[in-house]
Symmetry: C2
Subunit: 345 residues, 2 copies
């Protein structure tokens, strides 16, 4: 039996080969009538246009790969903490890819591991993606960005400015922490506790700096005793909140560097008989848990889904136009005010 | 320049072609030493073994595709409710795939849509997966399972018994709801409210049946007024909880068919000045929000990650052995008892 090719389909449908290709690749702006004619011919002839065939034939793979932190992702999965970050990333990037006939896979690679480069090269080899989205902390890894760039793989760095080495798609963590802190200062708080994030992530330092900025601007002296270390886990939030709330001169408000540690603060406060918002609490992630908790937590909203959508758009653009001049894209954060923050009593 | 092939790599590394292939496909049980020799040769020669090449050459694509409900997934993303189900599915299936040199993609297709079959055929054509994982409600769609089976695509149906048409990987929703209800009965509750799930999902009816079973076994009359409709959204949970809790003979406990509706019940109770666990509440999903809420919610744990891992295993097995005789796999649920349920006062 002769193998059915795209030419047979085009002939049977009475359309150009290019049209068949556009229908099969799910590209937009193909009329319903053309889609129907092509799909009818495909069904009748039993044509199977594989992605493999598309890829062997052309320059593009129609595939983007996001590299995510292995340790963090698996820990979150195992502990049942959820992975809102991945969820939001998929939301933005998958739907954008879908709209352009692309697909996105994500891969878990271990930041800081010896064989990181090797693993990434194996991924490039196996999947030949049209572009790579690096998420934190990989996006901070300049050597990795440069390795990919040397291999002519377009790269978007999520969460940090690209500064000319890859595209950058990010928000201003420092400004966001300053705004959250100012919100507390405006409510009359002077003793504001801060629970820091994991030092593995650049954003953790930015958030601490923003907290310091806001105190400084309001002429409130920085009290080191009000800064507790954390590593983004619930457990570290419990330890930090206990340290802050067991002080005789305890803070009247706490800014936690993520949702887990903010929810841990609610638990510790409840156990110590401290009512929230008698203690005001702000979270740095607007994840489902903090919205649905009682009370709902005031929180900084990171534009994760929007950043991922932008990242996918940039890479699809490069693959279509070949234009690779890197650019930086700052996306706005939000401060969602809910019942967990109130005027100091 | 001659194209570098797998033979060149094998020669340079002094190993069999098959060994190179195993290293490149990330298959397990390859010694570190062999991995190093092969990767060194790969690096020196600049060999690029594409997935496309693997696929053009062989029967297998090393790719599994999960089909998820489009409407539900996108609604959850948009509303910021989170998608713990997808998260857990990725956890189980991605890590299983990874361990066997496979990859998993998930695709969003609209259950009940006219062009469902066409969309699925387009996905098969583009990706040529070695198997398909159907999640609810797609897994209930017998016509879809049969269409895939006719095309010789191995199928796992998640959440429902396969009953000989595809593999089935599921838990016993009815028994789980009965156990949750019995937990409340054992605590002395007699007036137990039930918030039902969306009728689009088979599991919703199973859960209602299990609730009825437990009441029946305990000789407690079923009061239709204590059964409130819901559709798995927070909003529907608010409406249902308001209806149940505003009655003069209100229930002393509520079993909600998912996490959102259980958290909505907490909010309504808080607003009405009813303390939980003075009202006992059980959730049917053990998602991060219900564990971290104050109080943590007693909940039924669905083995989603385990089901997804089993699904991936079954499909990889088929693709390796060609053995496709369908089988059914019942996985155990759990009941996590937390602070939201207590003895009736």
């Amino acid at each position: 039996m002769t193998k059915v090719t795209i030419r047979h389909v085009a002939e049977a449908a009475g359309v150009a080969v290019k049209t068949v290709s556009r229908v099969m690749n799910g590209e937009p702006n193909v009329t319903r009538d053309l889609q129907d004619r092509v799909m009818k011919a495909v069904d009748q002839l039993g044509y199977v246009p594989s992605m493999a065939a598309r890829r062997m034939g052309g320059r593009r793979s129609y595939l983007l790969v996001a590299l995510n932190d292995r340790q963090n992702t698996i820990n979150n999965w195992r502990s049942g903490r959820g992975n809102d970050w991945i969820d939001q990333m998929l939301h933005g990037a998958m739907l954008t890819c879908e709209a352009h006939g692309y697909r996105m896979l994500f891969e878990l690679v271990q930041a800081g591991s010896e064989d990181l480069d090797r693993k990434v090269v194996a991924i490039l080899s196996a999947l030949q993606p049209d572009g790579i989205i690096l998420t934190p902390p990989h996006s901070q890894n300049l050597a990795l960005v440069e390795m990919l760039t040397r291999r002519n793989v377009p790269v978007v760095r999520m969460g940090v400015p690209g500064k000319g080495v890859g595209f950058g798609v990010f928000m201003d963590d420092r400004a966001a922490a300053a705004e959250a802190t100012r919100h507390l200062i405006d409510l009359g708080h002077q003793r504001i506790g801060f629970i820091a994030g994991s030092p593995r992530f650049e954003a953790s330092r930015q958030r601490l700096d923003g907290y310091a900025d806001a105190l400084h601007q309001a002429d409130i002296g920085m009290d080191e005793a009000l800064i507790a270390p954390g590593d983004f886990t619930f457990e570290s939030g419990v330890t930090a909140a206990e340290a802050l709330l067991s002080r005789s001169d305890r803070p009247t408000a706490i800014l936690a560097s993520n949702d887990e540690m903010a929810l841990a603060t609610l638990h510790v406060a409840s156990r110590l008989g401290i009512r929230v918002p008698d203690l005001s609490v702000i979270s740095f992630d607007d994840t489902p848990g903090v919205r649905l908790s009682v009370p709902g937590l005031t929180s900084v909203r990171q534009p994760i889904s929007e950043m991922a959508a932008k990242a996918a758009e940039l890479l699809i653009g490069v693959s279509r136009t070949g234009e690779t001049a890197p650019s930086d894209h700052l996306l706005p954060f939000g401060l969602e005010v809910r019942g967990s923050t109130t005027r100091v009593t």
